[in-house]
C-alpha cells in the first residue's frame, strides 16, 4: 500500500516536472513572440539549415590536401595515412617527381568518403602536414556513392 502511494507521489512529481517545463517554455515563447526577453528562448533548438552552430576549433570536417608554394601537392605519397587508416578508405598511387628533392608525389590520391569514419588519424600520421581536416564542410551527403569518392582535384581545391 505504501509502495503504491510512493508510486503515486512519483507520478505527481513527474507530471509536475513536465507541466513546469511546458508552462515556463510557453511563457517565454509567448514573450519572444512579442519581442520581449529575446535572450531567453523557449527552446534550445538550433534551426539547422538557417542557423548553424559554430564548429569546434578541432572539429574534423572534410579533408583537404595542402599545396606547396608552386601549387603542387605537399603530399609525398609516403602512404602513412593509408597505413594508419582504420577504414581503409585512402588509396594512393605514387609517381616519380622530376625534382629529385621531392622525388615522390601522388598521381592519384583518393579518399572514399563512403568508408571514411573521420577519425583524423591520417592528419595525425602525416609527416608533411599535407592533409588537414579543417575545411568546415560537414554537409557531405550525396545521392550516389561515386560522388563521395574524392580524388586529387577535389581534395586540392
Amino acid at each position: 500500500m505504501l509502495k503504491a502511494l510512493g508510486y503515486f507521489v512519483e507520478l505527481l512529481r513527474g507530471i509536475w516536472i513536465t507541466t513546469r517545463h511546458f508552462v515556463v517554455n510557453m511563457w517565454f515563447h509567448t514573450l519572444n513572440l512579442f519581442g520581449i526577453k529575446t535572450k531567453r528562448k523557449g527552446a534550445v533548438t538550433i534551426q539547422y539549415p538557417e542557423q548553424k552552430k559554430d564548429l569546434a576549433a578541432r572539429h574534423r570536417s572534410l579533408h583537404r590536401l595542402m599545396k606547396r608554394e608552386d601549387g603542387k601537392p605537399r603530399c609525398v605519397a609516403c602512404m602513412l595515412c593509408v597505413t594508419v587508416c582504420p577504414s581503409e578508405c585512402i588509396v594512393i598511387e605514387a609517381t616519380e617527381d622530376p625534382d629529385p628533392e621531392i622525388q615522390k608525389y601522388p598521381s592519384t590520391f583518393v579518399i572514399d568518403l563512403n568508408r571514411c569514419c573521420f577519425c583524423g588519424f591520417c592528419v595525425e600520421a602525416c609527416p608533411e602536414d599535407a592533409i588537414r581536416m579543417d575545411t568546415a564542410k560537414i554537409d557531405l551527403a550525396q545521392t550516389s556513392h561515386d560522388a563521395l569518392i574524392f580524388g586529387l582535384d577535389k581534395l586540392l581545391k
Binding site: A77, C78, M79, L80, V82, T83, Q103, K104
Partner: protein
C-alpha cells in the same frame, strides 16, 4: 673446436670462425652494415664492435677470429655506447626522408636507431648535400645521401659477378659510390644490389615508389623461369577493398638456400616473374566456337568436356585424345595428368611444348627455361616436342596445357592444322593466339597462386606455396584435373580421396619415391 664465452654464455664453435658468426650460431644478433656472409669481411661500418677481455680496444666481430677461452661481451655499456656513437655519425649525414624511402620498414639503419640510438642530434651544421637520383643501371637508382658507404654493392660486383662496375671514389666526407666513367651496372644479377643495400640508397625502378614494404606479405616459393629452381620470396599486397586490381605481387626477393642459389637470384627471374604474374593473364572462362562467344560457368564447362571424353571412352576410342603439356606444371599436376590420361584413359599422344631454351650464364641461370623438366622426366614422360603431322589425324580431343604451344612454330602452321581437330581445350595461365582457336579456354593459376612442388635440374623437389589470391575465374590446374576426373567418372574411390595438392603429393611419393626427398 674452440670454446668461447659470449656474454658469459659458453659456446663451442669451429676453429677459424669469426666472433660474428659464432654469435650468430649462438643466436645473438650483432648489428652490422658492411658484413655479408657471402663476402670477405671489410670492417668499414664499425657497427659490429664487441668488447673482448684482454683487448685494449673494442674489436670488430666480423673480422676477429675466435681463440680458445675468449670472453666476448656484445652488449656491455661500452659496446652500446660505441655503437651509439657510430650510429650518430652515420645519422649526421643520413637524410631523414624515411617517408619517401622504399627501404623504410625493412631498413637496418631504422632498426638500429630504434635499438641503440634514439638520440637527439648534436650536429648543428647543415647536412652534406648530395645527388639524390643517380641512375647506375638499367633498373637501379642510387641515392648518395642515403648511402652509408658499406660497399656491399662494390664487393658484390667485385666478388660475385666479377664485373667491377661500381667503386668507392673520393675520400673522407666526399667519399661516394660511383661507376667508372659512369658505365652503368649491366649484368644479369644487378637486382641483388637492391637487396644487399642495408639502407635505401640503391632502389629498383620496378619497385620504386610502388608501395610500402609493410603492406606486403611474403610467401616462400620457387622461381619458375629456369630449371635452377632458385628459392624466392614473393612479396604480395593483399590489396585495398573496393580497388580492383590493387591486390598483386610487387616484387621477388631471393631466399637464401646454399644448396641451390645462395643468397642471389638473377634478373631474368626477378623481373620476369613479375611480368609473368601480372601481364597478359588469362582471367575469364570462355566457351569459344567461332562467333559464339559466351562466358560459361566452370561446372558447365567441365560437364561438357567430361561428356565429350566419356563419349570417346564408351566407344573405346580414348586413344584419340592428345595432350600437349608444359613443364610449368608442378609435379602434382603432371602426376594427375599421368594418372588420368596415360594410366586411366590410355592416351599415347603426349607432347611437351616449352619455351625455347635460352643462353646459360654460367652462374645461376640455366638454358632450360621452365622449372620442372626434371620432374616430368622422372615421372616417366618423354619430353618430345609436338609433331603436328602425327598429332592431327589421330586426335578428336586435344588438351593443351600452358601458353607456349603457339611459340613452337613461327610460320603459324599450327593454326590451320589445329582447325581440323574437333575439340580443343586450352588450360592456361596466360593468353596467346591459341585462345582464339581453342573451343574451351580454362584460366589456370600461376605459381604465386597455387600449392605444389617443383623439381629442379639437380633433382631437388621444392615446395611452392600459394600466397596471392587468384582473381575472377582462375583455378589451379590440380583442381581442374581432379574435377575433370570426377566428371569422367574415372575411379571415384581414388580421385575422390584426393583434394589438395598435398594429398596428390602423398600419392606421388607412394608411386615414385624419387619425389619424396622434400628438402
Amino acid at each position: 673446436m674452440a670454446k668461447i664465452f659470449l656474454d658469459g654464455k659458453p659456446v663451442e664453435v669451429a676453429e677459424g670462425t669469426t666472433v660474428f658468426k659464432a654469435a650468430q650460431q649462438a643466436g645473438i644478433a650483432i648489428p652490422h652494415f658492411c658484413y655479408h656472409p657471402a663476402f670477405v669481411p671489410e670492417g668499414s661500418c664499425r657497427l659490429c664492435l664487441v668488447e673482448i677481455e684482454g683487448s685494449p680496444k673494442l674489436e670488430l666481430s666480423c673480422s676477429t677470429v675466435v681463440r680458445e677461452g675468449m670472453k666476448v661481451s656484445t652488449q656491455s655499456p661500452t659496446v652500446r655506447e660505441a655503437r651509439r656513437g657510430v650510429l650518430e655519425f652515420i645519422l649526421a649525414e643520413h637524410p631523414l626522408d624515411c617517408p619517401i624511402c622504399d627501404k623504410a620498414g625493412e631498413c637496418k639503419l631504422q632498426d638500429y636507431y630504434q635499438d641503440y640510438g634514439l638520440t637527439e642530434s648534436v650536429f648543428r651544421e647543415f647536412k652534406e648535400k648530395r645527388e639524390k637520383k643517380v641512375r647506375i643501371g638499367d633498373k637501379l637508382i642510387l641515392d648518395r645521401e642515403r648511402c652509408v658507404l658499406c660497399t656491399r654493392c662494390v664487393r658484390f660486383l667485385a666478388e660475385i659477378t666479377k664485373t667491377h662496375e661500381l667503386g668507392l671514389f673520393e675520400r673522407g666526407i666526399h667519399a661516394e659510390i660511383g661507376g667508372y666513367e659512369n658505365e652503368p651496372v649491366r649484368n644479369g644479377y644487378s637486382g641483388n644490389l637492391v637487396d644487399l643495400c642495408p639502407v635505401g640508397a640503391i632502389t629498383d625502378t620496378d619497385f620504386r615508389f610502388k608501395t610500402r614494404p609493410w603492406f606486403l606479405t611474403k610467401g616462400e616459393s620457387i622461381c619458375p623461369l629456369c630449371s635452377r629452381g632458385c628459392n624466392i620470396y614473393i612479396d604480395y599486397h593483399p590489396g585495398f577493398p573496393r580497388v580492383p586490381g590493387s591486390a598483386k605481387v610487387y616484387r621477388i626477393r631471393p631466399r637464401t638456400n646454399d644448396a641451390v642459389n645462395g643468397p642471389w637470384i638473377c634478373d631474368h627471374g626477378r623481373y620476369g616473374f613479375i611480368d609473368l604474374q601480372q601481364k597478359n593473364r588469362c582471367q575469364t572462362l570462355v566457351w569459344n566456337k567461332g562467333e559464339r562467344t559466351a562466358e560459361w560457368s566452370w561446372d558447365k564447362v567441365l560437364i561438357t568436356i567430361g561428356e565429350r571424353v566419356k563419349a570417346l571412352r564408351e566407344n573405346g576410342k580414348t586413344n584419340r585424345i592428345s595432350l600437349i603439356l608444359t613443364t610449368w606444371l608442378t609435379n602434382e599436376e603432371l602426376f594427375l595428368i599421368k594418372k588420368i590420361f596415360k594410366d586411366g584413359l590410355g592416351v599415347r599422344n603426349v607432347f611437351f611444348a616449352d619455351p625455347a631454351p635460352g643462353p646459360e650464364d654460367g652462374f645461376l641461370l640455366r638454358s632450360e627455361r621452365t622449372p620442372n623438366r626434371r620432374g616430368a622426366r622422372e615421372m616417366g614422360f618423354d619430353l618430345k616436342a609436338p609433331d603436328l603431322n602425327a598429332l592431327v589425324p589421330d586426335t578428336d580431343i586435344l588438351f593443351i596445357f600452358g601458353p607456349h604451344f603457339a611459340g613452337i612454330s613461327h610460320d603459324g602452321a599450327w593454326k590451320p592444322a589445329l582447325e581440323k581437330i574437333p575439340v580443343k581445350i586450352l588450360v592456361t595461365s596466360h593468353l596467346n593466339e591459341l585462345a582464339s582457336t581453342a573451343d574451351f579456354v580454362l584460366p589456370a593459376a600461376f605459381l604465386a597462386e597455387k600449392n605444389g612442388t617443383l623439381t629442379n635440374a639437380d633433382g631437388r623437389v621444392q615446395k611452392i606455396a600459394a600466397i596471392a589470391r587468384a582473381c575472377f575465374d582462375i583455378r589451379p590446374e590440380s583442381q581442374i584435373l581432379l574435377d575433370l576426373a570426377r566428371e569422367i567418372r574415372l575411379d571415384d574411390s581414388y580421385f575422390g580421396a584426393l583434394s589438395a595438392p598435398e594429398a596428390v603429393h602423398h600419392e606421388l611419393v607412394k608411386e615414385i619415391p624419387f619425389f619424396g626427398a622434400l628438402p
